[in-house]
C-alpha cells in the first residue's frame, strides 16, 4: 500500500504550556504501580522457587488422592514422582519438569494485552500512570525486538488452551481417590476452581475475541462467529479480573498441593 501524502505537515517543537514538571496529579497515582509490582514480583519469586523445588508437587495413591500442582502438569521429565507422569517423558532431562512447561503460561501472560498494560506502567514506567511523565528519554513502543514479539500472543493463547484442557483433566482426575473410589475433597475443589479461572482468563483474552469473531469484516455474513463474539465480549470486559484471579489462584493451588504433599495439611474429604 502506498503511503498517503498529507496536505498538512505535522509541525514539531511548538512551545507547550503549563509547568515543566513530571505531573500535577494530586491523587495516589503511585498506588496501582506499587500493588502491581508487589503482586507480580511475589508471584515470579514464588513460582521460580516452586519450579526449582522438584518435589512435593503430587499427592498420590499412598494418600488416596490424585492431586498434581498446575506448575508441574503435564509432568514431562523422566524424574516425575510415581503416578504424576503424563505418559510421555523427555529422557535426559534431569532438572525440574516444571521448567519444561512453564514457558508457555509465562509467555501467554507476558504477551497478554492486560499484563502489558500493567507491567509497562509498574515496572518500566512507560508511563507509571496516566498524565505522569514517562521514565525514559526515547520511546519506540512495540515496533522493535524484543517487544515486537508480543505479536506472537495468539500462539501462546493456543498453547494456553492445551494447558487448560490438561489442567481440566487433572481436576477431573482429582475426583478419583485410589483405593477409596470417587469423592470430592478440598483439593478437588481447588483444582476445579483453578481450571475454571484459567478457562475464564483464556476465553476473555483479546486474541481469542479477535480469532473467534472480531476479525471478520461483516458480522452479518458470519452469524455463528458473531454470536461467539457477542458471548466473549462481556467476558473480555472482565479480562483484568480474570487475569489477577487466575494468577493468584494458580499459585495458591500449588501452595495447597505442596502443603498436602509435604504432610503439613490434610486434604479433607467433603463428600
Amino acid at each position: 500500500m502506498a503511503a498517503i501524502e498529507s496536505a498538512t505537515k505535522v509541525e514539531l517543537g511548538g512551545v507547550r504550556g503549563g509547568p515543566d514538571v513530571p505531573t500535577l496529579r494530586k491523587d495516589r497515582w503511585w498506588l496501582q504501580p506499587v500493588v502491581t509490582v508487589s503482586i507480580l514480583t511475589s508471584f515470579v519469586v514464588y513460582s521460580t522457587w516452586a519450579a526449582f523445588q522438584n518435589q512435593n508437587y503430587y499427592v498420590g495413591a499412598a494418600a488416596h488422592r490424585d492431586l498434581i500442582s498446575p506448575f508441574y502438569s503435564p509432568c514431562l521429565g523422566n524424574t516425575c514422582v510415581p503416578g504424576s507422569g503424563s505418559g510421555f517423558a523427555i529422557h535426559g532431562w534431569g532438572w525440574s519438569p516444571a521448567l519444561l512447561i512453564l514457558i508457555f503460561p509465562l509467555g501467554f501472560r507476558l504477551t497478554c494485552y492486560y499484563y502489558r498494560r500493567s507491567y509497562y506502567r509498574a515496572f518500566w514506567w512507560s508511563p507509571p500512570a496516566c498524565a505522569v511523565a514517562d521514565g525514559h528519554g526515547s520511546y519506540s513502543g512495540e515496533t522493535k525486538f524484543p517487544l515486537i514479539m508480543h505479536n506472537a500472543h495468539r500462539y501462546f493463547f493456543y498453547a494456553g488452551l492445551v494447558f487448560n484442557v490438561l489442567l481440566t483433566y487433572d481436576a477431573i482426575r482429582a475426583f478419583r481417590q485410589p483405593g477409596l473410589g470417587w469423592g470430592v475433597t478440598v483439593g478437588t475443589v481447588v483444582l476445579l476452581v483453578n481450571a475454571a479461572l484459567l478457562w475464564a482468563y483464556s476465553l476473555s483474552c483479546h486474541a481469542c475475541r479477535h480469532l473467534c469473531g472480531g476479525g471478520v469484516k461483516t458480522f452479518s455474513e458470519h452469524k455463528t462467529r458473531y454470536k461467539i463474539w457477542k458471548f466473549l465480549t462481556p467476558l473480555n470486559a472482565k479480562h483484568m479480573n480474570f487475569a489477577w484471579a487466575s494468577l493468584i489462584f494458580v499459585a495458591l493451588t500449588d501452595v495447597y498441593v505442596r502443603l498436602v504433599a509435604s504432610g503439613v495439611l490434610t486434604d479433607y474429604k467433603l463428600f
Binding site: 509547568p19 508511563p127 469484516k217 452479518s220
Partner: protein, 259 residues
C-alpha cells in the same frame, strides 16, 4: 458555599506561570463555571475555549489537578480539598492560557484513507443492524483530543508526532476497517505510517475518554490483531498463499487518499 482557590496557568509561547484566584464556589458548579467567574471578576483576559457546556463539543478540554478532563463536566465538589490546578493540555503547543493549538490532530485526520465503497448496486447499498452497531461506539467521539493529550507516546516524546496517529485516529481506522462496505486495507498503513506499534496498551486514552469509548479494547487491540493477521501470523499467511488471496479477500486492496 466557601471560596475556592484556583491555580490557573497563565501565559503563552513566550512563557507563563500559575496565578492564584480565590473566588466563590456555589453548589453544583463545574470547573468551567468557576473559570467563567474568574473571567467575570478578576481576569477578563483569561483565555479558555468553550462552547456547549454540556460535554458534547469537546472544546473545554484542559488538565484539572494534572488529569485531562472537560472543564464543563468536572464538578467542583468532586475535587479534593485545597487549591484546584487548571493547566492547558500538555501535548499540544500553547496559544494562550488554557487554549492550545490542536492542529496536529487535523493533520492526522487528513491522512486517514477515506472509505472506499464498491460501485453502487442497482438496489442501493444495504447494511445490516449488527454491522451498523459495531461502529456506533466509535462515532460517539466528540474530538476533545484528551486521549491524544494523555497518550505518553506523544505527550512525553514530541518526536513521535511525525509517525503516530494517536488513539483518536486509531478509532477512526478501526471504524473504517470494520465497515462492511469499505474495501481499503489499512493494516500495513497503520503499522508502517501511523505508528500503531508505538501504542503499548496502557489504556490511558480509555481512562480519560468523556464518552466512555473503549478505545483500547474495541479499537486499538482489534487493529493490532488485524496487523498480526496481515504480518505476523504464518498460519494466516499460508492460508492466503494456498487460497491465492490477497491480504483482504475478494477485492483488490487499494488506497483512496482523502480529498
Amino acid at each position: 458555599m466557601a471560596d475556592v482557590t484556583m491555580r490557573v496557568w497563565r501565559g503563552d509561547a513566550s512563557g507563563g506561570d500559575f496565578e492564584d484566584y480565590t473566588v466563590a464556589q456555589n453548589e453544583g458548579e463545574v470547573v468551567l463555571d468557576v473559570i467563567h467567574r474568574i473571567q467575570a471578576t478578576e481576569a477578563p483576559d483569561l483565555a479558555c475555549r468553550w462552547n456547549c457546556k454540556a460535554g458534547k463539543c469537546g472544546s473545554c478540554a484542559a488538565e484539572i489537578n494534572g488529569k485531562p478532563r472537560l472543564m464543563c463536566m468536572t464538578r467542583m465538589d468532586d475535587l479534593p480539598e485545597g487549591p484546584v490546578t487548571v493547566t492547558p493540555m500538555k501535548t499540544f503547543p500553547i496559544i494562550r492560557d488554557l487554549v492550545t493549538d490542536v492542529s496536529f490532530n487535523f493533520a492526522m485526520a487528513e491522512r486517514v484513507p477515506a472509505l472506499l465503497p464498491p460501485p453502487m448496486p442497482e438496489d442501493g447499498y444495504r447494511m445490516f443492524q449488527e454491522d451498523v452497531e459495531r461502529g456506533q461506539e466509535f462515532r460517539k467521539c466528540i474530538e476533545c483530543f484528551m486521549c491524544q493529550d494523555v497518550c505518553h507516546v506523544i505527550r512525553d516524546h514530541e518526536e513521535n508526532k511525525q509517525y503516530y496517529a494517536g488513539p483518536r485516529f486509531f478509532i477512526r481506522y478501526a471504524e473504517l476497517e470494520m465497515h462492511p462496505l469499505d474495501q481499503n486495507d489499512r493494516r500495513d498503513y497503520v503499522r508502517d505510517e501511523m505508528g500503531l506499534g508505538y501504542c503499548n496498551i496502557t489504556k490511558c486514552c480509555t481512562e480519560v475518554c468523556p464518552e466512555h469509548i473503549k478505545i483500547t479494547d474495541n479499537a486499538i487491540i482489534p487493529l493490532k490483531e488485524r496487523v498480526v493477521d496481515a504480518n505476523y501470523d504464518p498460519v494466516a499467511w499460508l492460508g492466503r498463499k494456498i487460497r491465492r488471496r490477497t491480504k483482504r479477500t475478494a477485492t483488490e486492496a487499494g488506497v483512496q487518499p482523502a480529498p
